[in-house]
């Protein structure tokens, strides 16, 4: 009897420990709100789409708008991993594809789009001469993309819906692989027959003789679309508008810098990509590359992803998923929709 009393006392202690430890972070959060943070934690991945971040960092463009701002970088391997870091409260701002952002938004992560990053050619490559459309992929072929729910996976689903009648038609031959691994595998004609990827990996693949594009992102989506968006937490926007604005302005200035001065940008970016300056310049000025901060295709992605069952809800207006600076850049024309509003959707 005595022993069981001790047992229940221990259980009670355990329970109270759980509840007190849950109360502690809440108190810490409250304290953090009072003192404005001058640290901005930015999550990014690897590729040409993130070039504006590197330029802004190298040229101190964030600090230009908020002196003393400390930027902490977090390099992650996929939008899914960024979602997890955001939920864990380790990130204020993240740059990612529109689909993983929408998955997070659908599940209630409090964040919105703070800026577009770039429009770029994404594409599916193969080395097999007999594959010219999606229908030519057999059950033993494998198509690599970085992760389920990534923009590459969603674009492949869009193309599959167009060409094969079902968005999930190719899910059985899809395989998740990191960009560099999959690019190496494709160029060595090993394991995979297709790779849906983004710059610089598709540029590298296409530079090798014998590799050709099966379908590109614009064909799949139906029109131009934004590849990456910068996403900020509601908390940052509410509690630290200065840091938020410095980030948005830094991205805008860096994007303009790359478009206006590709030569200088290539010199800055080359070491971080492990490429020489000439190749970097070639990639930066590849047809279709555009560092543009007004996002395109936000609603097109969410409509498709809801129809295909990847997310449950869709935003009624862009303002549900984007901050006012972005909504204003798109505009809201009285009467019929303006051009930029129409470009948020896929063409009929």
């Amino acid at each position: 009897m005595k022993r069981s009393i001790i047992f229940f006392v221990l259980i009670a202690l355990l329970l109270s420990a759980c509840s007190s430890s849950t109360a502690a972070p809440a108190a810490a959060e409250a304290a953090a709100i009072d003192a404005p943070v001058t640290t901005l934690r930015v999550a990014q991945q690897f590729g040409l789409g993130y070039a504006a971040l590197t330029i802004a960092d190298e040229l101190n463009l964030f600090e230009k708008y908020l002196p003393g701002l400390q930027v902490e970088w977090l390099q992650l391997g996929s939008g899914g991993a960024i979602n997890e870091a955001f939920i864990a409260g380790e990130v204020d701002v993240a740059v990612m594809g529109i689909p993983p952002f929408l998955i997070g938004w659908d599940k209630g992560i409090p964040w919105r789009v703070a800026s577009g990053m770039c429009v770029m050619p994404l594409s599916l490559q193969t080395y097999k001469d007999n594959i010219n459309s999606l229908a030519d992929f057999g059950p033993d072929d494998k198509i690599a993309y970085p992760a389920p729910g990534s923009i590459q996976h969603i674009l492949l689903s869009m193309a599959a819906e167009r060409q094969l009648g079902s968005p999930t038609a190719l899910d059985d031959i899809g395989v998740a692989m990191a960009h560099p691994d999959a690019a190496a595998a494709l160029m060595n004609q090993k394991d995979i027959s297709g790779h849906f990827t983004s710059p610089p990996y598709n540029f590298q693949e296409l530079s090798q003789a014998g590799i050709h594009t099966v379908v590109d992102g614009t064909e799949a989506f139906g029109t131009e679309f934004t590849f990456l968006v910068a996403v900020a937490s509601e908390e940052l926007y509410e509690n630290n508008p200065q840091a938020y604005s410095a980030f948005v302005m830094g991205i805008a200035e860096a994007s303009d810098y790359i478009n206006q001065h590709p030569q200088e940008a290539a010199a800055i970016l080359a070491p971080s990509f492990g490429l020489d300056e000439e190749t970097t310049l070639k990639y930066l000025t590849w047809p279709g590359m555009n560092y543009v901060t007004t996002p395109l295709g936000l609603m097109g992605f969410s409509d498709f992803m809801q129809n295909a069952g990847y997310i449950e809800k869709v935003p009624e207006t862009v303002s549900e998923i984007a901050f006012p600076n972005v909504v204003a850049a798109i505009g809201q024309q009285s009467g019929t929709s303006g051009e930029l509003e129409t470009l948020q959707f896929r063409p009929e």
Binding site: I11, L14, L15, C18, S19, T22, A23, P25, A26, S78, G79, G80, N83, E84, I87, A88, P100, I103, G104, D106, K107, G108, I109, P139, K142, A147, P148, G149, S150, D171, D172, I173, G174, V175, A176, M177, K190, D191, I192, Y310
Partner: protein, 267 residues
């Protein structure tokens, strides 16, 4: 307190009681509302996810594929282990060789072999099979050879006196008396391979058509469907418990317990 006494005396009720407490603690932490549903989903949504993934056939398909891979690997692994052990029994030189490679490879976690498996066999079933066979074969050889070596001389002599020779001697005397060791080997092999399988699928992400429970977790993770992740974890635990406490326990009952090699388990 007759009810309390009854509960504390019955093993199953006792375990059910502990599980109920754990679930209660879980639900209590959820109900404090300090954690988002994405981090710690409540039990009801995990249950809904489990029911949903079973009814759509997804969970069944993934589980079946995982078990199919393990079954295949167990067949290959135990076949290889049998051959190596038999050869080691016949030649002392070969026994040293088997002992050496077992010593080298046994401590190596299967998942650590993944990059090499990918280089050799590429992505797909064969790489995973290599890892599974690796995690099955060494503990099996280790236990089987220990078992055979522990067969008492007296028993062997008795067998010989009864006129048993060669294979007959092996099947009637040596295998039964080494069986407790062999069974332990299988238990270790099973749990090693079950763990390796789930881990391997999550690390390099098997392809959609050829993916088991590890792939299911990997996929649900990217769509932030945390309740489904927990549902898959639940199935993994359940299968682990079923195999260890039902299947192996039953084999034990039919064999070494019936042969009087171990005493009846405590109730």
């Amino acid at each position: 307190m007759p009810i309390l006494k009854k509960v504390t005396e019955n093993k199953i009720l006792r375990q059910a009681f502990f599980i109920a407490i754990l679930l209660g603690v879980w639900q209590y932490i959820v109900s404090t509302g300090n954690y988002s549903e994405l981090i710690l989903p409540n039990l009801r949504s995990i249950w809904t996810a489990l029911v949903d993934s079973i009814s759509t056939g997804e969970m069944g398909e993934r589980t079946a594929y995982s078990l199919y891979l393990i079954g295949k690997a167990l067949a290959i692994g135990s076949g290889l282990a049998l051959i190596l052990t038999a050869l080691a029994m016949l030649s002392p030189l070969f026994a040293d060789f088997v002992k050496t490679i077992t010593t080298i490879f046994n401590p190596l976690p299967g998942v650590a072999l993944l990059p090499i498996a990918l280089l050799w066999f590429g992505i797909g079933e064969n790489s995973i099979l290599l890892i599974l066979v690796h995690s099955i074969i060494w503990p099996l050889i280790l236990n089987a050879t220990t078992g055979f070596r522990s067969v008492s001389r007296t028993q062997l002599e008795v067998g010989r006196n009864l006129g048993l020779r060669g294979l007959k001697l092996v099947s009637s005397v040596m295998v039964p008396s080494a069986f407790p060791y062999i069974l332990t080997g299988f238990k270790i092999s099973w749990s090693n391979s079950w763990r390796s399988l789930v881990a391997a699928e999550m690390i390099f992400g098997a392809s959609g058509g050829q993916g088991g429970l590890g792939w299911l977790i990997y996929q649900k993770r990217f769509f932030l469907q945390t309740p489904y992740v927990f549902a898959a974890l639940f199935v993994i635990i359940l299968i682990g418990i079923l195999v260890e406490n039902v299947i192996f326990a039953q084999i034990e009952k039919w064999t070494i317990q019936r042969w009087g090699m171990i005493i009846q388990k405590e109730k």
